[in-house]
């Protein structure tokens, strides 16, 4: 009886693994050249394990980004940069995608993405001074989820310095109030680059919300320069934000894909894999008398 249970549980788990691996097909990159620009699909707010509330390691995150057809990601550990540097090192070894070293500065007053930095910037200072520190390192600063409670931290001084703002996020594609708060903040200043980002913590698809970056070169510096010069486009559920010239250029050249990626909630093999795995693991726990 015991052997039968072991074989049944093992077989169920193996079937889940085979079905899941078969369902796990990589998505093609949509990267192409339009009007002298490299149009890169990027997610500019990505966390990884450890110490950033994420489940996937730096190397698994990089592999996941490639799997999702992303051309660039910004790895943004909370208040440090070493995990991002690990991700960039791994990306260099496997040949991409582009990984930019970043940081999410988290304080009780604001959260901010620093992109293209080499040492961590302190969040224990007013937003304007933190942005100055980011700029001194040659980086750019993006307001992360600037919802109402975080907006007062971005005073006039900070708004003059800020390079971009998250205007499309996964929750804003389902929640009208979230979408309107992000839009209201973004529209405060014409100087802000439009950013779509997932704020990835290992749940759901990386790149669910993304930014199209019109870079002059396919390099980390090319990405930074493009955001600094606001050559970005981000699609919402029923709208689009960003540089009108770049949008017109993209439209004249066949447009850009802008549907949110399919969620594998009810995709055949993936569903079978999940159900079989949940049964196998529950049975393993119960048969093992916990």
């Amino acid at each position: 009886m015991r052997h039968f249970r072991t074989i049944a549980v093992g077989g169920c788990f193996l079937a889940a693994l085979v079905a899941g691996t078969m369902s796990d097909r990589p998505k093609a990159s949509v990267s192409r050249e339009i009007g002298g620009y490299h149009v890169l699909s990027a997610d500019l707010h990505v966390h990884s394990f450890p110490i950033s509330w994420s489940t996937l390691s730096a190397w698994d995150t990089v592999l996941e980004a490639r799997h999702q057809g992303l051309d660039a990601i910004v790895m943004t550990p909370h208040n440090h940069v070493w995990v991002a540097k690990l991700g960039r090192w791994f990306s260099h070894i496997i040949g991409g995608p582009l990984v930019l070293v970043g940081e999410e500065l988290t304080s009780s007053r604001y959260h901010m993405i620093a992109v293209g930095i080499s040492t961590a910037v302190s969040s224990r200072q007013p937003a304007a001074r933190a942005i100055d520190d980011v700029h001194r390192q040659g980086g750019i600063a993006i307001a992360a989820h600037p919802y109402a409670p975080f907006q007062p931290a971005y005073d006039a001084e900070a708004m003059q310095r800020l390079d971009g703002s998250e205007v499309v996020r996964p929750e804003s594609q389902h929640d009208d109030r979230a979408a309107s708060e992000l839009r209201e903040f973004f529209e405060r200043s014409p100087r802000l680059a439009a950013i779509g980002a997932t704020d990835y913590h290992g749940l759901g698809p990386l790149g669910y919300s993304r930014t199209y970056i019109f870079a002059r070169e396919r390099t980390e510096q090319g990405v930074i320069d493009a955001v600094r010069e606001r050559r970005t486009v981000a699609y919402d559920r029923d709208g689009v934000y960003g540089d009108r010239d770049m949008l017109a250029l993209a439209s004249a050249n066949g447009g850009l894909p802008h549907d949110a990626p399919d969620l594998p909630i009810f995709a055949g093999l993936a569903v079978f894999s999940r159900i079989a795995a949940l049964i196998a693991l529950s049975a393993a726990v119960l048969f093992n008398r916990w």
Binding site: S23, D24, L56, E64, S108, L203, I265, S273, W290
Partner: protein, 170 residues
């Protein structure tokens, strides 16, 4: 050591299903490896708490028995993953900050009661001693796991600050 190993495999499988919606070899193998830090932290905390009460030859068997107390957590994680992978992401935050917290409170008590009886029977602890053992084990394990998972400054102040900020954000 079957139970600690099972905990690691369950964690790796959960990570895969939450990230890709399926059990994929590329994530399960890798994630199981680094998520072993959870059962390792629990086993080390047990060795610290039990100290000399655990005889050298019986440590492996005692650790395996102790992990019976992880059963409610493991089943809870499986249930949470099952729910999260079948509902729209629009509902995730509501579930994670509502039903999940209520479920966690129940599982916490359930798991603690199993561990309490482990210390009472396997280590012959008194009632008060078993309660102290459970609390100390939780303090050591949860601090270590939380620090590795979420905290960039590994000082008591850093850990408390991160905890306060995360409650505020919720």
């Amino acid at each position: 050591m079957r139970r600690p190993l099972l905990v690691a495999v369950v964690l790796g499988s959960m990570v895969s299903m939450l990230a890709s919606g399926a059990l994929t070899a590329r994530i399960v193998l890798s994630a199981t490896t680094y998520w072993t830090f959870v059962p390792i932290a629990e086993a080390l905390a047990l060795l610290v708490v039990a100290g000399r009460r655990l005889e050298r030859g019986s440590r492996s068997a005692a650790i395996d028995t102790f992990f019976a107390g992880h059963g409610p957590w493991t089943l809870f994680m499986i249930a949470v993953t099952g729910v999260l992978t079948f509902v729209s992401p629009a509902l995730w935050w509501t579930l994670l900050t509502g039903a999940l917290i209520v479920g966690m409170a129940i599982v916490m008590l359930w798991s603690a009661s199993i561990d309490f009886w482990f210390f009472r029977t396997a280590l012959s602890a008194s009632r008060a001693g078993a309660i102290r053992d459970v609390l100390l084990h939780r303090l050591l394990t949860w601090t270590a796991v939380f620090a590795i998972f979420a905290v960039e400054t590994w000082t008591p102040g850093g850990i408390v600050r991160e905890l306060v900020e995360s409650f505020k954000e919720m």
